[in-house]
């Protein structure tokens, strides 16, 4: 991919992820997260993972973020005041995060291979080859994931449901029934 495109996408994604972490209004954080996800989806497409890139936008931006939005609406979250306190936690957290970032940079920057140097197969990243690998080698994982999704849906409904109202006549036992 051209350098200008990568630099643009990198700057936008870092700026919006900082926006997620820094902003006070949860809806602004959500919008910044949506921008980050779209940028990362664009990076996927630029890295020849076309199907996964579009799936990222369809699934993550189009569905999961709408779920977040609905929860923010339901709980009616407002912009929170500037937090004070926890200075100890913030200090040590900042040092820890900086150390982790530095370590990641050092280890992940070892490779100097340029993007154009590796040639990939003709149908790389297309829905064809993704389907071949997914339903060929990873069929068991695929079926397990579908069961996982079913369990998640049932679990979410069961956890978020309001408690069922107790019937008024449930207290008195039936005559002849063991109490």
């Amino acid at each position: 991919m051209p350098v200008q495109l990568f630099i643009f996408l990198a700057v936008v994604s870092i700026a919006s992820s900082l926006g997620v972490v820094v902003q006070k209004n949860p809806i602004h954080c959500l919008l910044a997260l949506i921008l980050t996800l779209i940028t990362i989806g664009a990076l996927f497409v630029a890295l020849d993972a076309v199907t996964v890139g579009f799936l990222q936008i369809i699934v993550y931006v189009g569905a999961i973020m709408v779920l977040f939005l609905f929860v923010i609406w339901l709980l009616n979250l407002q912009a929170e005041p500037v937090p004070i306190g926890h200075l100890g936690l913030k200090f040590f957290a900042t040092i820890a995060v900086a150390a982790m970032a530095a370590e990641l940079f050092v280890f992940l920057s070892k490779t100097r291979t340029a993007l154009g140097e590796v040639n990939v197969a003709a149908g790389y990243g297309s829905i064809d080859s993704l389907a071949q690998t997914l339903f060929g080698q990873y069929l068991m994982a695929f079926e397990t994931t579908s069961i996982l999704l079913l369990v998640a849906v049932i679990g979410a409904v069961a956890v978020a449901r309001r408690a069922l109202p107790v019937r008024a006549s449930a207290g008195s036992p039936r005559p002849g029934a063991p109490s």
Partner: protein, 371 residues
């Protein structure tokens, strides 16, 4: 390299202008068409400098709808309600309009033409995964509505926005399933390829259009598309007699114009999708690369004329389906919200899944694809 960029930019601008102009003309269609259907006159007041008054030209309502109304909308005061989030209030119309217009980048309006030794596809962006791109951009269109309602600081606007968001994400699934059936039938995600495969005829007279292969998906796509664009009979989020204007109650001036434009641009989008997938796109029956061939008769035409006939045919089909949506709007009453949700989840989704299953079986048995 520079020439490629220039050609791409010209294609993008041309298709954007085509869509925006068609949306504006659709506004006129809607007002005068609804007047025809409801046996009344419609907009016929404004005429600039009395042009054609004696000839009865204002009765057509063209000046009124196409010039006076947009002028009024863009010069109105643009106010933000008290206590509303200014940034989100301004972002809402943009997030609603942008994804819909961007979707038209992958729409092929004609066959490839040769300009100066270079093959130019009449498609602003020729990507391999056109159908996936359409699904992605339609998914992003939810946020404009959601933020528009939330940022208005108005509980009825919020109610409209919540209803609209729930309705849109429900019918996205039905739309996706219809598009999946089409993709399985034609074996490709590329829109130009899908249109190419709809050329030719069966038995010498029946065009190989997608509607004969996937009638169920046609009905599903049309229904889900009308629900996505929140048009009657699915317009409860907008609820003209219940919620005033639903999620765009607190919008005036240019921002309201953006929401209206989104409505009509989505009408065009649904018409374009239906034309591309089910009615052959720019394919005209019996028109091949070098002219008309019908049995033994033939009418040879230069290549440019063939392409132009294809483009005209495409836009005629699109306008026909826009008119169909306008007809449906002014014929059916509005669905109640639970009826709407029931139709989406208990009606269209199982039907779509069944359609995908049957399509997959038939494709595998008929072509022996896969091992």
């Amino acid at each position: 390299m520079a020439i490629d960029l220039l050609i791409g930019a010209i294609k993008a601008i041309v298709i954007l202008l085509l869509v925006l102009n068609l949306s504006a003309v659709l506004l006129w269609f809607e007002r005068k068409g609804s007047a025809l259907i409801q046996d009344r006159v419609g907009a016929n007041r404004a005429a600039i400098f009395g042009i054609g008054k004696r000839m009865g030209l204002p009765n057509l309502g063209l000046m009124n709808t196409l010039m006076a109304d947009p002028l009024k909308l863009f010069t109105k005061e643009d106010f933000v309600p008290e206590g509303a989030d200014k940034f989100l209030h301004a972002l809402g119309p943009f997030l609603a309009l942008f994804p819909v217009l961007v979707t038209f980048a992958v729409v092929p309006i004609g066959d490839a033409i040769q300009i100066g030794g270079r093959t130019v596809q009449l498609q602003a962006a020729s990507i391999n995964a056109g159908a996936l791109y359409i699904l992605a951009t339609i998914g992003v269109g939810v946020y404009g509505v959601a933020l528009g309602g939330w940022a208005s600081n108005n509980r009825w606007a919020l109610l409209g926005a919540v209803r609209a968001t729930a309705q849109m994400i429900s019918y996205e699934i039905a739309m996706g399933l219809a598009i999946i059936s089409i993709v399985i039938t034609f074996g490709t995600l590329d829109l130009q390829n899908i249109v190419h495969q709809q050329g030719g005829v069966w038995f010498g007279w029946l065009p190989r259009w997608g509607i004969f292969l996937q009638p169920v998906a046609f009905v599903m796509l049309l229904t889900a598309g009308m629900a996505e664009s929140k048009r009657v009979p699915f317009d409860l989020p907008e609820g003209e007699s219940e919620l005033i204007a639903g999620y765009f109650t607190e919008y005036s001036g240019g921002k309201q114009a953006c929401f209206m434009l989104t409505d009509f641009a989505e009408v065009v989008l649904v018409a374009v999708l239906v034309t591309l997938f089910f009615f052959g796109g720019w394919q005209v029956p019996w028109l091949y690369g070098d002219g008309f061939h019908l049995g033994v008769h033939q009418l040879l035409l230069p290549r440019v004329a063939v392409v132009i006939v294809g483009v005209l045919a495409f836009w005629i089909k699109v306008v026909m389906f826009c008119w169909l949506q306008i007809l449906v709007r002014w014929t059916l009453p509005r669905f109640r919200y639970d009826q709407l949700m029931r139709l989406g989840w208990k009606g269209l989704v199982p039907l779509g899944l069944l359609n995908v299953l049957v399509t997959a079986f038939v494709v595998v048995l008929a072509t022996g694809a896969g091992r």
